[in-house]
Amino acid sequence: MKRSNAPIFWVLFGAGGMLSALIGAALVFITGIAVPTGTLLPKRLFEYERALAFAQHWVGKGILLVIITLFLWHAAHRLYHALHDLGVHAGTLSRLACYGTALAGTIAAAVALFSVGF
């Protein structure tokens, strides 16, 4: 019998859902509200040198890669099933649109984080 690949997508969905539930709101607040407006956290965190140093360090690189990819795979899995619930046929096209976007995003993040250097 052919083994199902469903558990892989389910684990990625669960891990991304758990991570975003635990710290997602805090991350959105930091990168989207606090630093851009300079409330509680200084605007200088978004200076080019600081951002570059963060992305070049293996810790920063790992954090960015894990957050971006897990959030994308979580959303892809959930939206794929929500589309089915809305009457969109759960076939190759909708699978490609959801999981394909997550895969493309994963590759783009990996390439960018590799090319910023170490």
């Binding site: 539930a21 709101a25 959105v28 930091i30 989207g32 959030f71 959303a75």
Partner: protein, 137 residues
């Protein structure tokens, strides 16, 4: 598939339009599924930042220019609300998605699992904010 008047069989298809709007339980279901749109949007915003950073100073400054714009800040307030709702619903669904857990010979109540999850979310969010504050100093 649809062959009107050609003599082929025309199976009844139950209409899918707005079925979930008729029941508050499914309305909530659709709202918590829709939070995934905002999770994806936030991931794409971060991804754009990382890609711009890899392209150099000018591209990065362009991204910073966008994320500090009033429109982006307003958008992030909406994303923040969606994330908060996602966390709330995630831990309310968790008792039904976890395998049954037992402690001291008794099954752990759903409300206990939900409460533990929400406490963990508040604690880890506070930790993340504290780390960011520590890094900024």
């Amino acid at each position: 598939m649809s062959a009107k008047g050609t003599g082929m069989r025309r199976p009844y298809r139950r209409p899918m339009d707005g079925w979930w709007r008729k029941n508050p339980y499914f309305v909530e279901y659709m709202i918590h599924e829709a939070t995934a749109l905002f999770v994806a949007l936030y991931a794409l915003i971060l991804l754009a930042g990382v890609v711009c950073l890899a392209q150099g100073r000018a591209a990065w400054d362009g991204w910073v220019g966008w994320i500090t714009s009033p429109l982006s800040i307003l958008l992030h307030v909406v994303i923040l609300i969606a994330f908060a709702y996602h966390a709330w619903s995630w831990f309310h669904i968790m008792p039904r998605t976890l395998p049954p857990m037992h402690a001291g010979g008794k099954r752990v109540a759903g409300a206990t699992i939900t409460r533990a999850g929400l406490v963990a979310a508040v604690a880890s969010s506070a930790l993340v904010l504290l780390i960011a504050w520590g890094v900024a100093r």
